[in-house]
Structure formats: C-alpha cells, structure tokens
C-alpha cells in the first residue's frame, strides 16, 4: 500500500470512528422540530427536554448531506478527485433545474399565460390570479412567439429561427445597459469628481474633507493621464502616469483585501456549520443549552 493511501485510510477510519462515537453519545447532526400552527419549526433544548420536540428525519438527512457535500468540495484543496467532481455536478444540475422551475412559476405562468388565458390559469394553477383578461392582452402574444422561436434552437430543422429573438434580447439589453452606464457611471461620476478642494462647513474650514477631496481629485487626474496614450509617457507626463500606476495599485490592493475578507467569511460560515449544526462542537446561539 502506498504511503499516501495508508495515511488517508487511517484518517478516514479515525474520522468515521469519531463521527460514530459522537453520533452515538451526544446525538450530533440531529435536528429537532416542534409543531406550531400545523407547521414544524426548529425546536430548542427546552422543547426537547419537555417532550414536545421530535426528530425531523428530513432536516437531519439534510444536515448530513450538506456536511458531506461541504467536505467533498473542500477535498479539492488537496487535489482533484471524484468526490469533488460529483459535488460540482450536483451543484450545477440542481441550480439549473431550480432556476428553470422558479422562472416558470414566477414569470411564464403568472406574467405570460396568466395574461393570455387568465381564467384557465386561475382555475388550474394559480387561484390568486385575476380571471379577467387585461387591456391589450394580445400584446403578450409577442413574448410568447419570441419564446417559441427561441426554443426552436433545439429543433434539428430551422434552428436559425432562434437568432431573431436572440437578436432582440441582445439589442434591448445593450440599449438598456448603455443608458444605465452613461447616466450612472459616466456623467454622474464626472459630476461626483468635481468637488471643492477647499471644503468649508458651517464651522469653517474642514481640513480632512479638503484632504479627501484633493486626494480623490488628483487620483482621478493621474489615472486618466496613465490611460492617455496620445503622448509618449516620458518627462512630466511619464512621472504623472507613474503616480497613476501607484494609485491603481493601491486600488487593486484594496480590492484584493476585500476579496480576501469575503473568502474568509465564506470559509468561516462553512466551518461554523460543520462545527455547530453537524458536529455539535460549538453552540454559539445557545440552541442546545441543557442538552
């Protein structure tokens, strides 16, 4: 047996024994619920002690499944392996199917079929919808036809038909985004960059606001000089563009720092889930006090 295989075998056996002992002694990874208004809600330790709580097998299986998939994903940090591939495929498949079902029931049914055939949809699918056709209901035939044309892509014959709705989507998206960026990012940002370098308040000269405004204004200028390629970056322009590089580097550093913070937070929540909900090693919210 290879040394690596031996180490992993030992680790798996030790981990399995640890889980078995903890599950047998403290009941880790078990979720209890209690009925409130005919709905099962999570129960706490006192509910369990008083006997109103019972084990929820669906939630318990959910916790163990989530823990298994978390470990499968973490295993990629060691090296690529079938467990990681399996978990990755499940995530992709479930996400795609979920998004499709949700979009169908939140848009296709109420906002398309519910407008074209409101009485049928109200009777058969969504009782909350109005059974009356809205004014100009026939306008909804346009998205219906475009939708059918888009699905034509799956057909072996005439799949070019799907290019027309696709062109519509690309055109409208480009138009919407163009206006959004010009208003919010281009014009508004120019407006926001024009600030008084000597800031005054009711109480007089505001030194730190002035420093902030001046640094912001100069940073914008030096970065613009860096991206100004009509002149060769030598002499004064070269020195200013070099300062521009420093400003950009500081910005990238800040962005990287934030990214690190975000990733650590994601790792922390997964570990918190493993230690709290699954292994019962910690109890930060006090839900098992007394057990």
């Amino acid at each position: 047996m290879k040394r690596e295989t031996l180490i992993w075998t030992i680790l798996f056996i030790a981990g399995g024994l640890f889980l078995a002992v903890r599950a047998g002694t403290v009941g880790m990874g078990t979720e209890y619920v209690k009925p409130v208004d005919d709905v099962s809600v999570p129960a706490n330790a006192s509910d369990r002690i008083s006997g109103v709580a019972e084990i929820s097998w669906s939630r318990t299986i959910g916790i163990w499944t989530a823990a298994f998939f978390t470990l499968c994903i973490f295993s990629y940090l060691y090296k690529d392996n079938p467990f990681y591939k399996f978990a990755e495929a499940i995530v992709v498949g479930v996400s795609a199917a979920y998004a499709m079902v949700v979009a169908f029931w939140t848009t296709v049914i109420p906002n398309l079929l519910g407008k074209l055939f409101p009485a049928w949809i109200q009777a058969g699918a969504m009782p909350g919808l109005s059974p009356v056709r809205p004014d100009f209901w026939y306008m909804y035939l346009v998205p219906l036809v475009l939708g059918v044309m888009l699905l034509w892509r799956l057909s072996p014959v005439g799949n070019w038909i799907a290019r027309w709705p696709l062109a519509f989507i690309i055109g409208t998206t480009a138009g919407i985004r163009l206006v959004g960026f010009i208003q919010a990012d281009f014009l508004s940002q120019i407006n926001s960059s024009i600030v008084p370098l000597i800031a005054m308040t009711d109480r007089g000269f505001d030194f730190w606001q002035s420093v902030r405004n001046t640094v912001g204004f100069l940073s914008v200028l030096v970065c613009l000089v860096y991206f100004f390629f009509s002149f060769e970056h030598t002499g004064f322009v070269g020195k200013v563009s070099r300062v521009g590089i420093w400003v950009l580097m500081i910005t990238f550093g800040a962005a990287f720092g934030y990214t690190v913070m975000g990733r650590i937070a994601l790792l922390a929540i997964r570990l918190e889930f493993l230690f709290d909900d699954w292994l019962w090693l910690i109890d930060p919210t006090g839900k098992r006090v007394g057990m």
Binding site: T107, F181, A265, L266, I269, L271, E272
Partner: protein, 301 residues
C-alpha cells in the same frame, strides 16, 4: 530555510489558513466593533424612514454568499422591526416592509430571514399588513427598469400566489418611487450596482438606496458614495459594524441583552482577524523569499 520555503507545497498554506479560521471559531474568539462612517450613514438612512414609511428590501443573494450577507440581511430586518415595534407602542403609523429578489434563491433567503427575525421575535407583525414577500422575478436589470415606474406590470402576485390587489399593504403602491427607502443586499449581478444605475440615478429625488454587499463588490460600489448611494456595508466588516449600531441602539441603551443570533457579524469577525494576520505574514514571507531569490540570481549572473 530558503529552499524549504521555495519548494513548500501550497497545501500546507491551505492547512494553515484552515487552522487560522477554525481555531477562533472553536474558541469563540470575538473582538469589539466600532462603527465607521458608512455604517453610521446606513443606520441613519434606516432611522430616517418616516412613520408609516415603505421600505423595499431586495435580497439579491444566495446561499454561497450567506456567510457575508446573512448577518446584514438579519440586521436590516431587525432594525426595521424594532422601529415598527416602537411606532406600534407609541400608536404611530408603522413602517411597511416589501421583500423581493432578483436572484432565483433570493426568496429562500427572504423566508429564512422572516423566519429567524419576524416570526421568532416579532410575531405580532401581520403578513400582508406589515410585511410582504413579493418573491423572485427573472430579468436582471430589466426588472428594476420596469418596477421603477410600474410595479404591478411584473408583480401580479406575491410569492405565495396571492393577487397583489388583495394584499392590503400593496394597495396604492404603484412603483419603487412609492418607497421611502430601498435596501439592497447584493452578492453580484444583478445587485446594488444595477439598483444604483436603473433606480437611484434616474430618480435621485425620489429613490434612495442603501446597500450591503460582498467584499468583492465593495470597491466597485465606492465611487457611487455618497451621491448615488448614501450608505454601504462592505463585506462582513460592514455587517458587524451595522449590527453593533443596531444592538447598541435597541439593546444596550435599553438595558437588554442582545440575543446571540443577532451577533453573527461580530462572531465572524474573530476568524477574520487571525486569518488576516496570517495572510499579512504570508505576504511578508513571500516577498522576503522573492527578494532573496532575486539577489541570489543577481550574484550568480
């Protein structure tokens, strides 16, 4: 030592990072939080919602970013619920909460928060009168573009399938401009950037937005502060600061102890500190190794 560091398997670094995060979690390490300007302006924006005001809460995130954004979402809802409770006790018109999502799993995040905060601690709040879940709509920024002028054009029902006209608190709500504040918790696209682009910027006098976002997004959103985005909570640090403000205002000042579930942000900042110290050490060591290597190369040539 130099050879050891240059040939070190990166998996040891992964293990170190795992320990740096795991040990503070197991030891329940926590540090005090002091709110900075952006967290204060976000808090002030929520406090500034008038009596009987309408607040739209757009939860544009999903479980992968719950670690960062969950504490913010919880604190935002708790803050509004505390305001509702105060207004109710004093017989003033109460604040109304309108939840919606532009991400497919957003409704689950909304349900979780409603379960955790409203149903658990404010059971007197009535669905349809004090809060409503309008659910998810696909269409990215297209949804924002439509609902800023015509909410009912897209939201014909709430998340449960109830006709929007039968929901008391939705009567008279024509579009997002009817809201006194929009709170967006954002994990990416579509998110705060799109809300700023398509809601706050075209209607600067009518739509006010504050947000909470992941660390990755925060530097992209800073240029919008303060004119287009008066308040922003960046990553778990922003969440912890805002949480501290809410807890101080509604618990500490009233002599109440804050329930542990409202201390998630603070709890998750413990591992952050240790992991950041490790990260800084690794960057310093990496640079030292790099410069030693470069000087050795220089000498050999």
């Amino acid at each position: 030592m130099y050879h050891f560091l240059t040939t070190l398997d990166r998996r040891w670094i992964f293990l170190l990072m795992l320990l740096a995060v795991a040990i503070p979690i197991l030891g329940q390490v926590q540090f005090p939080e002091k709110a900075t300007g952006l967290a204060k302006s976000t808090f002030d924006a929520v406090e500034g919602v008038p009596d009987g005001g309408k607040v739209m809460l757009a939860f544009d995130f999903d479980p992968p970013s719950e670690g960062e954004l969950g504490p913010m979402a919880t604190s935002f809802v708790r803050h509004l619920c505390e305001r509702w409770k105060e207004q109710k006790a004093q017989g003033r018109p109460t604040v109304k909460l309108y939840f919606l999502a532009l991400w497919p799993v957003g409704p689950q995040m909304i349900d979780d928060t409603i379960e955790k905060v409203i149903k658990a601690d404010y059971p007197e709040m009535v669905y349809g009168e004090d809060y409503v879940n309008l659910g998810f709509k696909p269409g990215y920024e297209g949804v924002i573009k439509v609902i800023v002028t015509d909410l009912r054009g897209l939201y014909t029902t709430d998340a449960l399938g109830t006709n929007i006209d039968q929901i008391p608190m939705c009567r008279g709500v024509e579009n997002v401009q009817s809201m006194d504040l929009v709170i967006n918790v954002s994990a990416g696209y579509p998110g705060t950037k799109e809300w700023v682009q398509y809601a706050a910027t075209p209607y600067p006098d009518k739509i006010k937005i504050v947000g909470g976002c992941t660390g990755v997004q925060a530097p992209i959103l800073y240029p919008y502060i303060p004119k287009q985005l008066p308040g922003l909570l960046g990553a778990i640090k922003g969440a912890a600061e805002y949480e501290a403000l809410v807890n101080e205002h509604y618990d500490t000042k009233k002599g109440r102890e804050t329930p542990a579930k409202y201390l998630e942000g603070k709890r998750r900042m413990g591992p952050q500190l240790i992991a950041h110290v490790l990260m800084i050490l690794l960057i310093v060591v990496g640079n030292i190794v790099y410069f030693i290597g470069r000087s050795r190369e220089g000498r050999s040539t």
